[in-house]
């Protein structure tokens, strides 16, 4: 279907280079890089070095890495980058729950400084005072934003922070001699899958609460779930469907009454910065995703950072080291009596921490709250406009406002046209947009989740809306165009039938060649 006049939709086409695999570029003898030879005095002193390697530990055959000249390697990966969308180029509001906001370039420049990237974690504290100050001050800011008393920036991500919360909960009960009896961890189905999965890694049996008929977290279900076996509650709020649980303080009270610990998953904090905090809702623990809410980029899936905060009572269980400050000197603080130990090598994802620190400094207290308020404004603007599209709905709304994201449904569109949410996603790729569905299970049928953040202008939101409208209209007029999509993307419909078949799947090129033949890859030779 042609783009309608008046539509903001772009006549987009993604770069398509038909780029080979790097292994297909192999030309024996070519070099991408030289390693310097050791100085002559060294060779004269110790010889070739290799003959000293014990025979059993010598590499018998060189690794079958491709041999490719430097410019061709550059070109290869540049082309792959062009075959990737990226938030900088996209109106990247279709990845709800992930807070894909603007990642300021100045923060990249700051983080690229040798003063940041060329320091080693085992240096004397006196030589890393700048890095320690960054970590200490970010801890202070996060204390303000959450109302809790101390933060560790060590966890590698939100999920790692959940693991840290589970370990701290376990330690808390262990100190009281109750670690063995308190073996249940409660969460809700609209909390991130890791609230259940990472807690299970620590050995907890998971109790999952489902919403009541209005879509609200169910207090009665919680009351029925708690007992002397309850170790704690890990809950995302606002939940992944975008609703703020107004009875959240009741949740924490009920869990506290049976002696459990309450951990607040603040992955969705972008709409509530400076508006409401873990402290007021009486949580013992909370965490923020620095690569989401705090402006650091997602890097195709990391590096990330999860900052975990605790009340005074729980702070003695935080991972070590924390960062302290005394008499003008910043130091690594290992004096945490009942620490859970470590959840990551060294001290945390420093580049992510540094970018988040710069982001908070740029925003300031007022800017943080303004970011939250505009994120909520943008989201409710989209909620109004999307639910006006015939075929889209926002289940569980019950007239409720949403905070920073909404889980919508294409169920009506699907029933009326046979076009499902995956088809819509693929068709939107033809216009340079990404649209994600939902974590599993799909409690909302034919789901899609949108989170506009504060970063995109109204014009851009309208452009995205025109994309949704176009696809919906197309689904009604020429559904095959949607179902056969993408048409303007890098690749056509992928034959993924072998991905679950051990006889066919191939996670590496060497596995592919073994299963599908030596020459299978030569596509233009």
């Amino acid at each position: 279907m042609e783009i309608q006049s008046g539509s903001r939709l772009r006549n987009f086409h993604q770069a398509k280079w038909d780029e080979e695999l790097i292994f297909e570029l192999d030309t024996p003898g070519q070099r991408g890089l030289h390693v310097p030879e050791v100085e002559r005095e060294i060779a004269d002193t110790v010889g070739d070095g290799l003959s000293r390697i014990p025979a059993s530990m010598r590499r018998a055959t060189p690794p079958a890495l491709p041999e490719v000249g430097q410019m061709r390697v550059l070109k290869h990966y540049l082309r792959l980058s062009q075959q990737n969308l990226g938030a900088d180029l996209n109106v990247d509001i279709g990845q709800g729950t992930c807070t894909v906001k603007y990642n300021p370039k100045i923060n990249e420049r700051i983080a690229a400084s040798p003063k940041a990237r060329d320091i080693h974690p085992r240096q004397a504290e006196s030589t890393v005072q700048g890095a320690l100050r960054v970590m200490y001050e970010l801890d202070l800011y996060l204390r303000e934003i959450s109302g809790l008393d101390r933060f560790s920036l060590q966890p590698s991500s939100g999920s790692d922070a959940i693991l840290a919360m589970a370990a701290m909960t376990h330690k808390y009960h262990e100190v009281r001699g109750e670690a063995d009896t308190r073996d249940e961890l409660i969460t809700t189905i609209f909390s991130h899958p890791s609230d259940a999965a990472a807690a299970a890694v620590k050995g907890y049996r998971i109790v999952t609460l489902y919403p009541d008929e209005q879509g609200m977290p169910d207090v009665e279900a919680l009351k029925a779930a708690v007992s002397g076996r309850t170790a704690g509650l890990f809950i995302t709020n606002p939940e992944d469907i975008g609703i703020f649980n107004p009875r959240i303080a009741e949740f924490t009270r009920i869990v506290h009454e049976v002696g459990g610990i309450c951990g607040y998953d603040q992955a969705n904090a972008n709409g509530i910065l400076g508006i409401t905090r873990a402290r007021e809702a009486d949580f013992d623990l909370c965490f923020f995703n620095l690569h989401k809410t705090f402006g650091a980029p997602h890097g195709c899936g990391g590096p990330a950072a999860g900052a975990i905060g605790a009340t005074k009572e729980l702070a003695d269980h935080l991972p070590v080291p924390l960062v302290g400050h005394e008499s003008g000197r910043y130091y690594l603080d290992y004096d945490v009596p009942h620490s859970v130990g470590k959840v990551r090598g060294f001290y945390g994802a420093f580049p992510v921490i540094l970018k988040s620190y710069a982001w908070v400094l740029s925003m300031g207290a007022e800017g943080l709250a303004e970011a939250a308020r505009i994120a909520v404004l943008n989201n409710n603007y989209l909620l109004k406009k999307i639910t006006e599209i015939d075929g889209a709905s926002s289940p569980y709304s019950g007239g409720k406002r949403r905070i920073e994201q909404v889980r919508y449904s294409w169920q009506k569109l699907y029933e009326e046209t046979g076009v499902d949410t995956h088809d819509v996603t693929r068709r939107l790729a033809d216009f340079g947009f990404h649209l994600w569905q939902s974590h599993h299970p799909f409690v909302v049928p034919q789901p899609f989740t949108i989170e506009p953040t504060e970063s995109y202008s109204r014009d851009e939101l309208d452009e995205y809306l025109d994309g949704l409208r176009h696809v919906v209209q197309e689904a009604r007029i020429e559904p095959q165009t949607v179902k056969r999509a993408p048409h303007n993307s890098v690749v056509h419909r992928i034959d993924d039938s072998g991905l679950d078949d051990p006889e066919k799947w191939a996670v590496t090129w060497r596995a592919f060649r073994k299963k599908h033949g030596e020459r299978a890859g030569k596509i233009r030779g």
Partner: protein
């Protein structure tokens, strides 16, 4: 913020007129109305004690640069620090590619609009597969600690056994990560080592091999830099007991050292930081896990595994998730451990790095590091009272024993720091038997002059 002149550059819809129009569309008077579901007692009405925003980029950059100026970098000094984070040369193209907007700011797109991300990470898996001579490699985990933890948990699930033996020459930092991740579900028993070679105590392993032992986790080279040459015999003993051999390995050495699969490892793991990533205060870690292409193993990975496919158009490559149903994304706590955002961008840097290096580059690098570390070991061992702690072949790192010098490692490092040298990491706090010892790391970035300056500075100080 209501002031039109001060609309933050990152928040375009703060323009009062735009805000008003959007509110009118929604049908409310004030943004606060959109928060009506948050009860008043939960509203924060105070003021956050956070400085006013440095909304000018110039001001922000100046401030943060000033803060960071208190750091003294490894480039401004001579550094012999390692122990799990290394200063290797980072090729310019690694920075170029990992800094590309399309990769840097992408997240979780589909294999259609994010084809490049899938291909780059598939290539990462494949390049690591060649280095390790194993057919399955995951999308990066957080770091070596998590990779080792998951490898251990995988071994436990595959064998149905709950105890893991760990060679006690492991990095204590990493062991702490493993304990948090694996206990109490998996029991950990430490296996001793020879005080002269740091090699594994074979008798100790033998005594511990019961039908509850899922496997042995061994780092090779060890945290202390020594290379274990009896991997095959150790692996055979484990396999005879129905247990698995899990090996943590430094990929930078694999141009010259045998990969773990060659001496019987069932699972290999380690860190990719050194493959094209900077040290970043230990903040640029990324873990890898590799196995053979055995369904029993593949189905126990918690990680994303990107697989290659064909498309409906002849000649096109497509990509997708292999056996997605095993992940926590698919089935929450019923999945294998958990998966989420980890260190993908560092995987892309590593792919670029290995593509540039090729087999010849990796061999040259390995040889360079071996020669240079041997030179450093020789020079230091010539100093009075200074000796090498272990009699073994070392790669990249070695333990220097200063206990006969009458000086503590702290005193020595303080004196070296005054000369602009970061001396080796003090092992005294980590291993009781290594009081007075320091872990020195030498890479291709270290020059002969650096080593000679270190030697001269030590000679002068210890005299």
């Amino acid at each position: 913020m209501a002031d039109r002149q001060r609309v933050h550059p990152y928040i375009p819809n703060s323009v009062p007129e735009v805000k008003a129009e959007m509110l009118a569309e929604i049908g409310v008077d004030d943004i606060d109305d959109l928060y009506e579901d948050i009860p008043e007692e939960l509203r924060f009405r105070g003021k956050l004690n956070i400085p006013d925003g440095m909304t000018s980029e110039l001001e922000l950059e100046r401030h943060v640069e000033n803060v960071l100026s208190r750091n003294q970098t490894c480039g401004e000094t001579i550094s012999f620090l390692g122990g799990g984070c290394y200063r290797h040369y980072v090729p310019a193209i690694c920075n170029e590619i990992s800094g590309r907007s399309e990769f840097l700011t992408a997240y979780a797109g589909e294999p259609y609009e994010d084809h490049g991300r899938f291909q780059a990470l598939f290539e990462y898996q494949s390049l690591m597969g060649e280095l390790l001579e194993m057919d399955v490699v995951n999308v990066p985990t957080y770091d070596w600690g998590q990779a080792a933890s998951t490898s251990i948990r995988m071994a436990s699930r595959i064998t149905g056994r709950d105890t893991i033996l760990i060679a006690d020459t492991i990095s204590p930092d990493r062991l702490a990560v493993i304990r948090t991740y694996c206990e109490p579900v998996t029991s950990i028993e430490l296996v001793g080592h020879s005080p002269t070679t740091a090699g594994l105590d074979a008798d100790d392993i033998k005594a511990r091999l019961t039908d509850r032992v899922a496997g042995l986790y061994l780092e090779n080279p060890t945290y202390l830099g020594t290379v274990e040459e009896r991997g095959r015999a150790i692996g055979d003993a484990l396999h005879a007991n129905g247990s698995l051999l899990v090996v943590g390995v430094d990929p930078l050495g694999l141009g010259v050292l045998a990969p773990p699969s060659r001496y019987g490892a069932d699972i290999a793991c380690g860190d990719i930081q050194g493959l094209g990533n900077h040290t970043y205060f230990g903040g640029a870690l990324g873990g890898f896990i590799a196995t053979h292409d055995d369904e029993r193993f593949v189905m126990e990975y918690p990680s994303r595994l990107f697989g290659i496919c064909r498309t409906e158009r002849a000649g096109e490559w497509g990509f997708g998730d292999v056996a997605y149903g095993r992940t926590s994304f698919a089935v929450r706590e019923q999945g294998k451990e958990f998966v989420g955002t980890a260190a993908a961008l560092y995987g892309i840097s590593a792919a670029v790095y290995l593509s540039l290096m090729g087999p010849a580059g990796m061999r040259e690098l390995g040889q360079h590091i071996v020669q240079k570390s041997q030179y450093a070991m020789k020079r230091l061992s010539e100093l009075d009272g200074v000796r090498l702690r272990f009699d073994a072949f070392h790669f990249k790192e070695f333990v220097v024993d200063f206990s006969a010098t009458g000086r503590t490692v702290a005193e020595i490092n303080s004196a070296l720091l005054a000369q602009g040298i970061f001396g080796g990491h003090d092992l005294g706090g980590e291993f009781a038997a290594l009081e007075g010892c320091a872990l020195y790391a030498v890479t291709e970035v270290t020059t002969r002059e650096d080593i000679d300056r270190l030697t001269d500075a030590l000679r002068a100080y210890l005299a």
